[in-house]
């Protein structure tokens, strides 16, 4: 059985962070993304952009991880935005109705100071 890895990496500058995600987000891999976002919340990140261009699939578990991180960031005046979702990810955003909850950019936005 092919095992699909999820890779998550963060580039931070000032209070801004871009989280790049590669692979498939599901029940088994979502904790990896959750841990990365939780660490940004702990560090008091202001603006977090999640670059989804490398995500081939994301299920509702992954959506919940993103939603939960967005709520926690907002509690401290921060934001979480999604960028460059592929069609499969756009579809789960649409079917869950979360496309109206998240701020979704078609392409990765340029962050101030970068």
């Amino acid at each position: 059985m092919r095992h699909v890895e999820l890779k998550v990496s963060t580039a931070s500058q000032g209070g801004h962070a871009v989280v790049s995600v590669y692979g498939e987000v599901d029940l088994y891999t979502a904790p990896r993304l959750q841990a990365e976002l939780a660490s940004l919340v702990r560090d008091g990140a202001g603006r977090v952009v999640v670059d989804l261009s490398g995500v081939e699939f994301c299920d509702s578990t992954g959506m919940n991880v993103l939603l939960s991180a967005m709520k926690r960031l907002r509690e401290h005046g921060g934001t979480l935005e999604l960028a460059a979702p592929r069609p499969a990810v756009r579809r789960i955003l649409q079917v869950t109705g979360l496309d109206t909850v998240f701020s979704v950019h078609d392409a990765l936005p340029a962050l101030e100071g970068t």
Binding site: V4, D26, D59, L67, R91, T96, V101
Partner: protein
Amino acid sequence: MAVRHPIAESWQPPPNDSAGPMNEMKFTAEQLPGVRRFAEEHARRYKVDDGLIGDLVIAVNEIATNAVRHGSDHAELRMWAEDGRVIAEIHDSGTWYLSAAPGATPPPPEAEGGMGIWVARQICSAVSISTGDSGTVVRLELSSTARRYV
């Protein structure tokens, strides 16, 4: 007359005469990528429209996730084609204590969790759940050519 189990009573054994051969795979949480590949490959084999294959994969993955998350560590996916539809059944050995109509209404706008069955209902033409002491079966039906949710 033998006492019939609730599952046996409400669940007609697949496939009937008009259906193609049934295919199945056992899986655990770690093997959910394999479940998605299996669903995609069988959707292609059953001539599901290209634009609907992704939806089928999403729905099957959501219910398969529920099975290994809430039902039992080991679960099974069965798929077959029947009368222009694709049927996917997900079997686990847990008992689901059902609310009146799970997934019949959307979760609150920012609810966390409980989304899987709602997502499946948005995508599928029919979702049926049979649960009892010996396990839970969720049956998903999708038209091979018509998208229900736009």
